[in-house]
C-alpha cells in the first residue's frame, strides 16, 4: 500500500510542487527517446586507464600497487645485487634512484587513472546539476559496468521518472484547467475518472462522493494490479475518494502519491465549485420565482384595492341620482361593505410587515369564538353561499387577541367562499378538547379541495390555490393567519382530504372553561 499523505500540510506542499511543475513544463527533449542527443562517452576516449573491463577500483588498486610495490621491489633487487657485489658504496645512490623511479612510475599511473575518471565525473555532475536545477536531463550513456556507469544509470532512471512526473503534472494541470463548474457534478465526476486513468496510466479509476473511512483499504498483492487511493478534499472538508489500480509492474512512490493527492485535491475544489455553482443557480431560479411572485402579488394587491374603490365610486355616483329609498339603502350597504373590505386588506398588508419586523404585540383576552365567527361571516356578506355554524364548544372561551382572531376568521371564511364555489356551502364547527384545554374552529368548504402537493405551500407568502388568477387574493391570508396564531400560542392547519367536502382548515386556540365561581 503506497503511503497516503493525510496531514493538513499536504495541500501547501502540493501547491509548491505544482508551482514548480508549472515552471518545469516538460520540454520536447525530455519526451524524446534516449540516445539521439545523449552525451555518450566512449570509455576508450578516457585513455588506456579506462580499458574495457577494468573497473574504477581495479584501476586505483593497480595504481597503488604500482606506486607502493615498485620501489620496494626495485629496492629489494638492488639490495640483493649489492649483497652479491658487496659494494656498499653504490647502495645509497642506487636506492635513491630506485625510489625516485618507482615514485615517478606510480605517479604516472595515478595521473592516467584520474584523467579518465574526471571526464566521466564531469559528465555526471553536469547532468545531476541540470536535474537539480529542475531542468530535464538527457540520459548519460557510460559504457562499462563500474560504479560510475551504475551511478549514471541510476541518474538516468531518476531523470526519467522526474520527466514522467513532469508530464503527468502537465497533463493534470491541463485537465484541471478544462473543468467547468457549470458542467455539474455528474459530468465532472466522469471526466475526473477518465482523466485520472489517462494521466497516471491506471487500469481503472473510480471517484466516490463518500466518506473515505467507509471504503475499505485494498491490500497490495505482489503480481496483482496495485491499488491506489487519494482523499478528495476542498479546504479542510473531505468530499470523497479516488480509487484505482496500477499495472503490477509500475512503481509507485511517495512522489506519485503526492501527485495523485494533488489531482484529488484539485478535483475536490472543482467539485465544490460545481456544487456552489449549482446552489447559486438554484438560488437564481428561486429569486426569479420570488420576483415573479412579487409582481403577481403587486398585481393582486392593486386589483384587490382598486376593486372595492371602483365599486364605492360607482355606487356613490349612482346614489346621487337615486330617488328610490330601497335602492339607495342597498347601494349604501355595498359601499360600506366594500370600504370594510379595503380596510381589512390594508390591515393584512400592515400585519405582514409587522410579522416580518417581529413587531407584533398581541393582547390576549378571553373571548367567545362563536359570535365572532358569525360576525366575521356577516361582514363578508357572501350572498348566495350557504352557511352552517355548529357550536360544540360548551361555552368555553378562547384566549386570543380579538383583532387578530377577527383577521384570521375573516381570511379563512373569505377563502372558503372564494374557493368553495359560488353554489357551495361553508360549514364551521367549534369544538373543545378539555384534556388539553384547547378550542378548535374548523372551516370547511365544498370546493375542489387542496392537493397534497399544495398543502404546505399554501401557507407560504403569495401562495394561491391551484388555478386561481392573481385577482382572487393577495396570497397572504393563510400565511398571515398562521403567523398571527403562532404569536398567541395557536395553530392553523389543513385537515386531511375527506369525501363529501372540499378544503377544511382548523384553527386551534388556548381555551378556558366557563365555570361559574361567583
Amino acid at each position: 500500500m503506497p503511503e497516503r499523505r493525510t496531514g493538513p500540510d499536504a495541500t501547501p506542499h502540493l501547491r509548491e510542487r505544482m508551482a514548480a511543475g508549472r515552471a518545469v513544463e516538460p520540454s520536447p527533449a525530455a519526451t524524446t527517446p534516449r540516445g539521439t542527443t545523449g552525451a555518450t562517452v566512449d570509455t576508450t576516449a578516457g585513455g588506456s586507464s579506462g580499458g574495457s573491463g577494468l573497473s574504477l577500483r581495479m584501476l586505483l588498486t593497480a595504481g597503488m600497487i604500482v606506486s607502493a610495490v615498485l620501489p620496494v621491489a626495485v629496492y629489494g633487487g638492488i639490495v640483493l645485487a649489492a649483497g652479491l657485489s658487496a659494494d656498499s658504496k653504490l647502495m645509497v645512490p642506487l636506492l635513491i634512484a630506485a625510489v625516485v623511479a618507482g615514485s615517478l612510475l606510480g605517479l604516472l599511473a595515478a595521473a592516467l587513472a584520474v584523467a579518465g575518471l574526471t571526464t566521466r565525473l564531469r559528465l555526471i555532475t553536469a547532468a545531476v546539476e541540470r536535474v537539480a536545477a529542475g531542468e530535464s536531463s538527457p540520459p548519460i550513456h557510460l559504457t562499462g559496468d563500474d560504479e560510475l556507469a551504475r551511478l549514471a544509470e541510476s541518474h538516468n532512471r531518476v531523470a526519467a521518472e522526474a520527466g514522467r512526473r513532469n508530464r503527468e503534472l502537465g497533463a493534470l494541470l491541463g485537465a484541471i484547467a478544462g473543468y467547468n463548474p457549470a458542467d455539474g457534478l455528474a459530468v465532472l465526476t466522469a471526466r475526473a475518472e477518465s482523466d485520472a486513468c489517462a494521466i497516471y496510466g491506471l487500469i481503472d479509476c473510480r471517484l466516490r462522493l463518500a466518506d473515505p473511512a467507509t471504503v475499505p483499504i485494498e491490500e497490495t498483492i505482489p503480481g496483482d494490479p496495485r491499488p491506489v487511493r487519494a482523499a478528495v478534499r476542498a479546504g479542510t472538508e473531505t468530499l470523497g475518494l479516488v480509487t484505482g489500480h496500477l499495472p503490477a509492474t509500475r512503481a509507485w512512490e511517495r512522489a506519485d502519491q503526492d501527485l495523485l493527492d494533488l489531482f484529488a485535491s484539485e478535483i475536490g475544489v472543482a467539485l465544490r465549485n460545481a456544487e456552489l455553482f449549482g446552489q447559486i443557480e438554484d438560488q437564481n431560479v428561486r429569486l426569479l420565482e420570488l420576483d415573479a411572485a412579487k409582481d403577481e402579488f403587486l398585481r393582486g394587491v392593486s386589483h384587490n384595492l382598486q376593486t372595492p374603490l371602483t365599486s364605492i365610486r360607482a355606487y356613490v355616483d349612482q346614489l346621487r341620482a337615486a330617488s328610490d329609498e330601497a335602492a339607495r339603502d342597498r347601494r349604501l350597504g355595498i359601499v360600506a361593505e366594500q370600504a370594510d373590505r379595503l380596510t381589512r386588506l390594508v390591515r393584512q398588508l400592515l400585519t405582514v410587515t409587522r410579522l416580518e419586523a417581529g413587531a407584533l404585540r398581541p393582547e390576549v383576552e378571553v373571548i367567545a369564538v362563536v359570535p365572532r365567527v358569525r360576525r366575521a361571516w356577516e361582514a363578508l356578506n357572501a350572498s348566495g353561499v350557504g352557511f352552517e355554524l355548529r357550536d360544540e364548544g360548551g361555552g368555553w372561551l378562547a384566549v386570543a387577541d380579538p383583532d387578530q382572531l377577527d383577521q384570521v376568521l375573516w381570511a379563512l371564511l373569505d377563502n372558503a367562499v372564494k374557493y368553495g364555489g359560488r353554489e357551495g356551502k361553508v360549514e364551521v364547527t367549534v369544538h373543545v378538547d378539555d384534556t388539553v384545554k384547547r378550542i378548535y374552529v374548523t372551516i370547511a368548504d365544498h370546493g375542489p379541495g387542496v392537493s397534497e402537493a399544495d398543502s404546505e405551500r399554501l401557507f407560504t407568502r403569495f401562495a394561491r390555490g391551484a388555478g386561481q388568477a392573481s385577482g382572487d387574493g393577495t396570497g397572504l391570508g393563510l400565511y398571515v393567519s398562521r403567523e398571527l396564531l403562532r404569536t398567541i400560542g395557536g395553530a392553523l392547519w389543513l385537515e386531511p382530504a375527506r369525501e363529501g367536502r372540499g378544503a377544511a382548515f382548523t384553527v386551534s386556540l388556548p381555551g378556558e372553561p366557563p365555570g361559574d365561581e361567583s
Binding site: 370600504a339 400592515l350 372561551l397 378556558e512 372553561p513 365555570g515 361567583s518
Partner: protein
C-alpha cells in the same frame, strides 16, 4: 325634575371631514360636542371648560396627539380615547397605555366607538391613585401603566384586566357585582357574557395572587361578585 346634564366630548382631529361627520353622529346620540383641529386649539377649548371625555387623533400637526394627551393628563385625570389610523401593534400606540383609556382604530365603526365611549364614561367618578396602589407586601398595582408587581416580580396586565382592576380598586374592599364588571370591562358591542368575567377573574388571580388557590386580594363573593382587598397578610 332635573334634566340630567348631557355629557360633553371634546373631539380633536385634523381631518375636518371627520370632525363634521363624527360630531353629528355624537350629537345625535345626545352628547354635547366641541371640536378642535389641532393641539393648540384643543388647549384653548380646555381653558374654557373641561369636557367629560376627549376623543383624540394621534397624528396631528404642531402638538401631536401623544404630547397633547400627556399635557392634559398632567393637569387632570380626564378620560381620553385615542382614535387613530395607527394600529395598536405600532410602537407609538404602545405609549398610549399611560395616557389613554382606550384606543379605537380608524376607520372606525360608529356603533363600536359609541360603545367604547359609553364604557369609559361609566367609570366617571371612580377615583383611584394615579400612582402605585399598594395592596399588601406581595401586590402593588400600577394601573396607569397596566402592570402589577406580584411578590417582587412585575407582570403585565391586558387592557381588559386593567379596566376590571380599576373598577375593583375604585371600590376597594367593597363588592363589585359581576354585571358591573361586565359593563366596565367590555363594550356593549362585544356581546360579553358573565363567563367573560368569571374566566377573566380566574386568569387575573393566576397573575396577581402568590397562591391562586388561596387568594388574599382578589376574592369571590359567591352569588354576587368580586372584591379587591388590601391585605397585610403574607400569602
Amino acid at each position: 325634575m332635573i334634566e340630567p346634564r348631557p355629557q360633553r366630548i371634546l373631539l380633536v382631529d385634523d381631518d375636518s371631514n371627520l370632525l363634521v361627520v363624527l360630531s353629528d353622529q355624537l350629537r345625535d346620540d345626545g352628547y354635547e360636542v366641541a371640536t378642535a383641529r389641532d393641539g393648540g386649539e384643543a388647549l384653548r377649548r380646555l381653558e374654557a371648560g373641561w369636557p367629560d371625555l376627549i376623543l383624540l387623533d394621534l397624528m396631528m400637526p404642531r402638538v401631536d396627539g401623544l404630547a397633547l394627551a400627556r399635557q392634559i393628563k398632567a393637569e387632570a385625570d380626564l378620560p381620553i380615547i385615542v382614535l387613530s389610523a395607527i394600529d395598536t401593534a405600532d410602537s407609538k400606540a404602545r405609549l398610549l397605555d399611560e395616557v389613554a383609556e382606550d384606543y379605537v382604530s380608524k376607520p372606525y365603526h360608529y356603533p363600536e366607538l359609541r360603545a367604547r365611549i359609553q364604557r369609559v364614561l361609566r367609570r366617571l367618578g371612580d377615583r383611584i391613585p394615579r400612582q402605585s396602589l399598594v395592596l399588601g407586601p406581595n401586590l402593588t398595582l400600577d394601573l396607569h401603566r397596566r402592570a402589577a408587581t406580584v411578590g417582587g416580580r412585575e407582570v403585565a396586565l391586558t387592557p381588559t384586566e386593567s379596566r376590571l382592576l380599576h373598577a375593583l380598586a375604585a371600590n376597594l374592599g367593597d363588592i363589585v357585582a359581576t354585571e358591573t364588571l361586565l359593563a366596565r370591562g367590555w363594550a356593549d358591542t362585544e356581546e360579553a357574557e358573565p363567563s367573560y368575567v368569571w374566566v377573566s377573574m380566574r386568569r387575573l388571580r393566576q397573575k396577581i395572587e402568590v397562591d391562586p388557590d388561596r387568594p388574599v386580594h382578589l376574592l369571590t363573593v359567591r352569588g354576587s361578585g368580586y372584591r379587591l382587598v388590601a391585605s397585610p397578610e403574607d400569602a
